[in-house]
Symmetry: none
Subunit: 207 residues, 4 copies
DNA sequence: AATGAATGAGTATTCATTCAT
DNA sequence: AATGAATGAATACTCATTCAT
């Protein structure tokens, strides 16, 4: 164990108690971040929420940023669910399922997603991560779109990258609208409509 | 008790010199906000940029928030340009023009738009303004879409509100992609593709 | 006219207009001082009140302190009125008259007196002036008391200085009580009672 | 929404060290307040005096005002000492004792009393507290005076409230004179004279 | 003399991070 | 590992006073 590696080593919870404190802090941080946003969140409040001594925070994390990353990592936000489908599923059903999955996941994680949005406005690395997440969704769409174009069941004149990003952005935008209560439609209708718009947009044919 | 008499006297630009200083400050603030973001922007830097004494800032503005609002107001960001079209213009040309206008305006104001985005993550009033701006775009699309549906040249089964917001969100998303340099397409191709996606999505017929 | 003498020369109102502005500022200052106290009073508010341009203040006064002194000087606060009495007036009537005069004058000038009190807590020169004013009252009492003692109509074992200051302090204290509305007695009864206490205290005999 | 959890965490002296720091700050604040007055006192100076880091101030107090209140509370200024006397003590001895106690206590606490006076000129709550303190003294005198009147050993034509306040004010005034070194008499003579004036004033008879 | 803008020193307050026990 | 106190850099804001027209 060299010096360099110990320099920033923090308790990683090797003991049971340690693991517990660490987890309490992550949970508390998520609560506080969602309540106050990253900027207004104070370490002291996180510790209060976690029922942890003030100083213990730094036993486990080097900074507010670090715990934020941990919180983000701890949240399983998989906005993507195109793949685990049977290969012979009808394309439109895949799209519908993906849309529903996206909207539901977004809704379930709206709190932390907003904080991520906030932090991404001044933290380059979070911004990158956020973009990557959406890109992943877009890339999956892009792959599928190419396949449909090759199969001749989608508009071949569309640029797959742009189509994927545009449609992904469309779904993301509506997801936010639903969460903020600004939508007159409920989630089911939104899924229907998005699916229709989407399949129209790429002129998807029933194979 | 005369409250007004207690109110702080502020330079309102009674003099030419005053108007100038005020404007310099607004311009300087915009520069600094775009360079550092709202959070990292310091009043001192704004004054340096504006070639103004520190104290002069408070001759014109009560706070960093206030000057930010002024900056936002001073920026003419009209993302919308659907209406000034001749009534008999072909629908697809209207859509194309709107898309181009949106992308170009977004690009031209990308710097301040990012700051607005940042501030809207913790300032409710800015958040509202931001949403209103996008809503305005969406409502215009919604109106148009209804007309097309009534004319029988657009898919009547689409919900106009959702279609408008979804398509508006799609354009907004691509606008951001273009600005951040993540797009393999240039703005002209993006306009083309978005227009195609859009007209496909609502199944727009050439009348 | 040498440099030294012009260094701090300020407009003294040699023209009619100048005299007027100067007077407006003094009047405005008194109003603002009485309303807000010296500490919270702002030059800007004084100028507003005086209907005078902001910068004009320094045409006439070098500082907030200076105008305060002018205000104090402009107010005729003569808490003393023992002398102008006919030499053969009955002693108790002199005391009664002095008490009444003190209470009435105090009441009439309560506003500025409070400000003077405030300033005297951090400005030595004002403190001195304030003390001098009360001392003047006390010295007059002291003189009278000595006379009464020499005439054999007052307790000769009393120290005239202490008696004078104690009785003067007594009147001053009640004056403040009357002004602040904490007294159950009205001014007439207060005069009566103070006069009685006073003449009792020095065991004044009707000559 | 749990407001308490958002409240700033403050050192409440859970540790011995904490208690100590807090006390050092209060002591240091008193020293600085007495030296510079409330207005000129700077937090930094208080911390220097208390041998404490700048930030530690805010571990214990929210503001300069708050620590001032603490300082005032921590000072045991009991200007009153009429009651603990044996019920059969001679009235004049009670008065003498009270006078002596007042003058001595005032002298001992002259420094902070001046600061209290200063703050009371712009802080209503301190002003109230200050008045209450003097009122307590006056009310005690008032009670006693009534008793003497009922016993027929004091002038029955005096208003007890006014007499009490007038005599209390008299003592307070002399106390200040003694402290400021403006008195030609020493404290013992002052006590004698005040006692004589007082008993004369209410025409106290030896029972 | 009038006007109103320019100047900048002075300070309270926050809170992430470090440290001693 | 836990605890809670100590630390101090960073900065917005006030307003008396000066200055240019």
């Amino acid at each position: 164990m060299d010096v360099a590696s110990t320099a920033k080593r923090r308790g990683t919870g090797r003991t049971e108690r340690g693991r517990q404190s660490r987890q309490q802090l992550i949970d508390g941080a998520r609560t506080i971040f969602e309540r106050d946003g990253f900027l207004r969140a104070r370490i002291a409040d996180i510790c209060d929420e976690a029922q942890t001594a003030y100083g213990s925070f730094y036993t486990y994390f080097v900074s507010k940023e670090e715990i934020f990353h941990e919180v983000v990592d701890s949240v399983e936000i998989d906005l993507l669910r195109l793949e685990p489908f049977p290969e012979d599923a009808k394309p439109i059903e895949r799209i519908r399922a993906a849309n529903r999955h996206y909207l539901e996941t977004y809704q379930r994680n709206a709190g932390i997603l907003r904080v991520i949005m906030q932090v991404s406005t001044f933290d380059e690395s979070v911004s990158q991560t956020r973009i990557l997440r959406q890109d992943e969704f877009a890339r999956a769409i892009e792959r599928r779109t190419r396949i449909y174009q090759e199969q001749g069941i989608a508009d071949a004149t569309l640029d797959p990258w742009l189509a994927a990003n545009a449609l992904g952005g469309m779904v993301a935008f509506i997801a936010e609208k639903l969460v903020s209560g600004d939508s007159p439609l409920d989630i089911d209708d939104a899924v229907d409509q998005l699916t229709k718009l989407w399949s129209n947009a790429i002129q998807l044919q029933d194979p």
